[in-house]
Subunit: 221 residues, 2 copies
């Protein structure tokens, strides 16, 4: 099955019979998986998801399609893994964000950072929007993962605001979910693709202000 | 230019020379425009925007493409007009909505109604989402028109809430805009296409609750 031309043209292993394909040395599966993701992401970003096949990805890696298939059975599972990886990376950047500041500043910083990430992504690569639509239309897990992480961060900020005595909330997870949804206009990747960056920045500030006012109100349940 | 086969096969006008194409009686331009919009909307909805041409619309109407072109110079201008018409129709339905109820109930009714409209639209016709993406990617005027109308309605509700003594706001237009943006997760046509109706209904209720709490807070500017 291994039709890797690089492997075949490489140094020949003495115990390989003539005519039999030369196998490349085995690498850890995790490393191969990362390499496939990197290449798939690069090709999707530059040529578009729709026009790149698993065979193209395999060819770019000088790997057999079967080998790619062993790790990812569909193009959508590749997109899901690419998006999940990007989300996990964002998570690390966000964790340290303004953690020494008051809760309302942290909320603003979180929203602003997520918006900027999506704006920058989409400016870089016009085909990113196509990938985002795939994750939505195919209801991939990465969307739930993104929600779960960001809602968790908002909940943490609300708890901090309660400790500071500025926020009032009986049901933090519920308010964190509502806040996440209210922020969709500026942090949802589909929404950030729709407006100019200047308008988005104003919207972000105003909606964060609205959420902040709601969280400060003793009426918020 | 008029190559309408129906007109040619119709009753012949006595003063028309043999061989000359028979012209149909002129109709008011507004009526023709509506007829073109109805047919274009029907074809876009059933076959998809991308696969329907101006020539297809003209053929369906037994009209010359030049005649359609006289009213709409591009397919995008057709989509803009179809969407604007739908928005104006929604406006009429919304104006009467719960106008005798307290402001917070009116806000909930407005958001719920807009969400239901979009959900119903998209359930009916899978190609509606494609048209919505066209209005966004081409930055058509209908998007601004939708925003303008709904922000105006929210501002009217906030003013009513201030009169009732439950809402506090110095800058109503600013809060109306922020509320509209916060509601994007449930009323933006791209967002309504992404989730199941039950989840959307819960989200709508929760985000309206958050906005209501913000508007009740004397901290909301």
């Amino acid at each position: 099955m291994d039709q890797d031309p690089r492997a075949r043209s490489g140094a020949c292993c003495p115990n390989t019979g003539a005519g039999a394909p030369v196998r490349r040395p085995r690498r850890p599966a995790e490393e191969t998986r990362e390499e496939i993701l990197n290449t798939a992401e690069k090709l999707f970003r530059t040529h578009g998801y729709a026009s790149v096949t698993i065979a193209d990805i395999a060819a770019e890696l000088s790997m057999s399609p079967a080998n790619v298939f062993k790790h990812f059975r569909t193009k959508t599972s590749l997109v899901d893994a690419i998006a999940t990886r990007a989300i996990e990376q964002t998570l690390h950047a966000l964790k340290a964000l303004a953690s020494d500041k008051p809760a309302s500043e942290r909320l603003a910083a979180l929203a602003h950072h997520l918006m900027q990430e999506h704006l920058a992504e989409q400016k870089d690569a016009p085909f990113v929007f196509e990938m985002i639509l795939v994750t939505i239309n195919e209801e991939l897990d990465c969307g739930d993962r993104f929600r779960e992480i960001v809602v968790g961060m908002i909940a943490e900020i609300i708890h901090a605001g309660i400790r500071e005595g500025v926020y009032h909330a009986d049901d933090v997870p519920r308010l964190a979910n509502a806040s996440f949804d209210a922020l969709a206009c500026v942090i949802h990747p589909v929404m950030t693709g729709m407006e100019k960056a200047g308008i988005m920045a104003t919207r972000c500030r105003e909606v964060v202000g609205l959420i902040d006012a709601a969280l400060r109100s003793p009426l918020a349940k």
